[in-house]
């Protein structure tokens, strides 16, 4: 392992990594624009210049790899490389490079969406000179649409070519290229193409300046107004890590979050712009009961009383009187509670089913990024926690016998086919737990308001068996309550239990107690990056179904 010295620090590094990578890993800041860990190295911005002993000129640290010297040629007797990042000459050259980058860059930070998270701003402030010596007219070009969601502002572009490399290496769609040479060069798009691939939104993320802009977010807000929350995407079963930016409980944009075990550095456009679905949906914010063809608000106590009345009409010893419809869109904690409700409280009277999974085409990119065909975030969790899941519930259940049908709604993506619609329509009493007026909710007799995917909290298990923590990005509104809490109230009312979980963490602990593969998967353990599920065969919890020693 080569031993190098950066400024006054000795670092032992792996052979072959670059100076920039070594410095960043050690926490030494070297400014850069064109380098991106997921993309190939071009060294075009020249911002990361450093002084290396023995080399006549300054070197671009992003493209200088570290090798091992023979013992007799080591610097100072032991180092393979001596790098200086803070000398006078380095500072002067950074200043000069910045001056070149800013030659044609407009001073329009007040109207630029990148302002506040712009590296050009930060480094100009830190390393640049305060005044421009450029007296000539700045080059002005018009904004252009690159695709339906991406606009380019040519004036702000610093030609780092991150976006070009992205379309070549990550999405593999090759839409962008550098047109012309020298100071005429600009990012351009091939005539017969448009930047509309499913990863197109990432070029906005990776642009270090405000040149690439999203039509979805352009001129909507300022960066410093936004609150950043770390969460995971719930639009397919990959479970990409995301950053959700919101202000006053309204989501403004979603960006990718780095997680090498799941999504790398990028997310797809389905997840990036998907949050608008929840905004557009007609929200349910209070328990609603059907009356005279419409719905009228009812208190939580009233709703629970209604459920108890319906339940008390069920007879002992008869099968399939209570139908539970579980959903792969819910967190592990609420599915765990749901399974508990059905198996331990309703016992033999109950049957758990599910609607057909929402599936779409599976997409693979050459870079390894994938979008799963399973468009529900937690199919694995559903299979883990609802152990007696019945696949052919429509055939098994005679609707005439069913007293109570309790359905966890999948949300705005769920469309009902005729068979299922008639099944739900024929129910004597249908309770739907949802956040919006979905087709299923419209058939309900009683609607319980739960959180939307952006308000949920708990763990999700992705299709690789990785448990990740879904953090709420906006807070619950009005009379809505967390899913697990609604099911807990259900259990307390119908099963006469006295469960008093005060937070999702307590449910999570209880879940770990009963399901060994989820043991200890608390937020403090799995953190923001998630952990793979323990490889323990899931069996039905031993005490399940037994009277006396069941849940409490």
């Amino acid at each position: 392992m080569p031993l190098i010295k950066i400024d006054d620090r000795e670092i032992e590094v792996e052979k072959g990594i670059t100076v920039l990578q070594a410095a960043t890993a050690e926490g030494i800041e070297i400014p850069y624009y064109c380098y991106h860990p997921a993309l190939s190295i071009v060294g075009s911005c020249r911002m990361c210049l450093v002084e290396i002993e023995g080399m006549p000129k300054l070197q671009v640290s992003c493209n200088t790899s570290i090798g091992e010297l023979p013992p007799e040629r080591k610097k100072d007797g032991k180092y393979d490389m001596i790098v200086r990042t803070q000398t006078e000459i380095v500072k002067r050259e950074r200043e000069n490079v910045l001056e070149f980058l800013l030659l044609n860059h407009p001073l329009d930070c007040p109207v630029c969406d990148q302002a506040g998270e712009c590296f050009l701003q930060d480094y100009s402030y830190k390393y640049g000179r305060a005044h421009s010596r450029f007296l000539e007219e700045k080059r002005v070009r018009k904004n252009e649409y690159l695709g339906s969601n991406v606009i380019i502002n040519h004036n702000r572009c610093i030609m780092c070519t991150r976006c070009v490399r992205f379309t070549r290496e990550i999405s593999g769609t090759n839409e962008l290229f550098v047109q012309a040479r020298g100071d005429n060069s600009k990012i351009s798009i091939f005539e017969d193409k448009s930047l509309d691939n499913l990863l197109a939104g990432n070029v906005i993320d990776i642009c270090p300046v405000g040149a690439l802009l999203s039509t979805d977010y352009i001129h909507k807000n300022r960066f410093w107004n936004l609150e950043e929350k770390k969460s995971i995407c719930t639009d397919c079963s990959v479970g990409c890590n995301i950053l959700v930016y919101s202000q006053n409980n309204r989501i403004f944009r979603i960006n990718a979050r780095e997680n090498h075990s799941v999504n790398g550095y990028f997310i797809c456009d389905i997840g990036r712009y998907g949050f608008h679905r929840y905004e557009d949906a007609e929200k349910v914010t209070s328990p609603l009961i059907r009356s005279d063809g419409g719905f009228k608000p009812i208190s939580w106590e009233g709703a629970l009383k209604e459920i108890y009345e319906q339940f008390s009409r069920s007879k002992d010893g008869e099968k399939h009187q209570i139908v539970g419809i579980a959903s792969p869109f819910h967190t592990n904690e609420s599915l765990f509670m749901f399974g508990r409700l059905m198996d331990n409280i309703f016992k033999d009277k109950s049957i758990i089913g599910k609607l057909p999974f929402i599936e779409d085409y599976e997409i693979h990119f050459d870079s390894g990024f994938r979008i799963s065909k399973d468009r529900s975030p937690n199919r694995q969790g559903l299979l883990d926690f609802c152990l007696n899941l019945e696949d052919e519930i429509l055939q098994k259940v005679k609707t005439g016998k069913v007293r109570l049908c309790y359905a966890l709604d999948d949300g705005v993506d769920r469309k009902l086919d005729e068979e299922w619609e008639s099944f739900f329509k024929s129910q004597r009493f249908l309770v739907v737990q949802t956040y919006a007026m979905t087709p299923l909710a419209k058939l309900a007799h009683l609607i319980l308001p739960g959180p939307s995917p952006m308000e949920r909290e708990g763990t999700m298990t992705n299709d690789q068996g990785r448990i990740q923590w879904l953090k709420p990005s906006v807070s619950l509104t009005n009379k809505t309550r967390p899913d697990w809490e609604i099911i807990m109230e259900f259990m307390n009312t119908v099963g006469k239990r006295e469960l008093k979980y005060s937070s999702v963490n307590e449910v999570n602990l209880e879940m770990g107690e009963r399901f060994p593969s989820y043991r200890g998967m608390t937020f403090f353990k799995i953190g923001y990056q998630g952990l793979p599920k323990k490889n323990i065969a899931t069996s039905r919890p031993s005490e399940g179904g037994q009277a006396g020693n069941t849940v409490t």
């Binding site: 007040p110 109207v111 904004n143 352009i218 001129h219 909507k220 807000n221 300022r222 410093w224 107004n225």
Partner: protein
């Protein structure tokens, strides 16, 4: 050690009280012949000096377009957090690409420090000399974009208080 302060012993002249009384009245009478400082407020209005920081206004270009680009620098600089802006891409083809659809100032919160004026890169927000804008409701002291532009029309050519009063 405590110091003993001898209390003031009034003299005979002090005990008469009459000289002191006239001394006070002299001052009163002197002011009767001086220039009066009282302003008969609703009929007469005080004209504030240049640089007075009163009600805000939003400036326009000569062609009538709003100068503001909704950069929210004023809102960021505001120590009272009283400026609320909703930006949007501008509807016009040429010129500024961003403008405010809503620009609200909560005058009850505003402390009239003038930081917004200083922060503005477009010289769009300014404080005028208007000081009498009291209202009976809280809602009345929430000034919106239309209101701020109206203030500009009122104050763009002359001092608000030098205009002859119609009533």
């Amino acid at each position: 050690m405590a110091t003993v302060v001898k209390s003031y012993e009034p003299t005979f002249r002090d005990k008469l009280y009459i000289p002191a009384l006239f001394q006070g009245l002299m001052l009163t009478f002197k002011h009767m012949f001086k220039k009066k400082v009282t302003i008969q407020y609703p009929d007469e209005k005080h004209v504030p000096p240049e640089g007075y920081r009163g009600l805000h206004r939003l400036n326009k270009y000569p062609d009538g377009r709003i100068r503001c680009v909704a950069c929210e620098m004023c809102a960021a600089a505001c120590p009272a957090h009283c400026i609320h802006i909703v930006p949007e891409p501008s509807p016009w083809e040429e010129g500024k690409e961003r403008y405010p659809v809503r620009f609200d100032i909560d005058l009850l919160r505003c402390i009239f420090c003038g930081f917004c004026e200083m922060a503005c890169p477009e010289k769009a927000i300014e404080l005028t000399e208007i000081y009498d804008f009291a209202d009976y409701s809280r809602e009345g002291l929430w000034i919106d974009k239309a209101g701020l532009l109206e203030i500009y029309e009122l104050t763009k050519t002359q001092n608000y208080y030098t205009v002859p009063n119609d009533e």
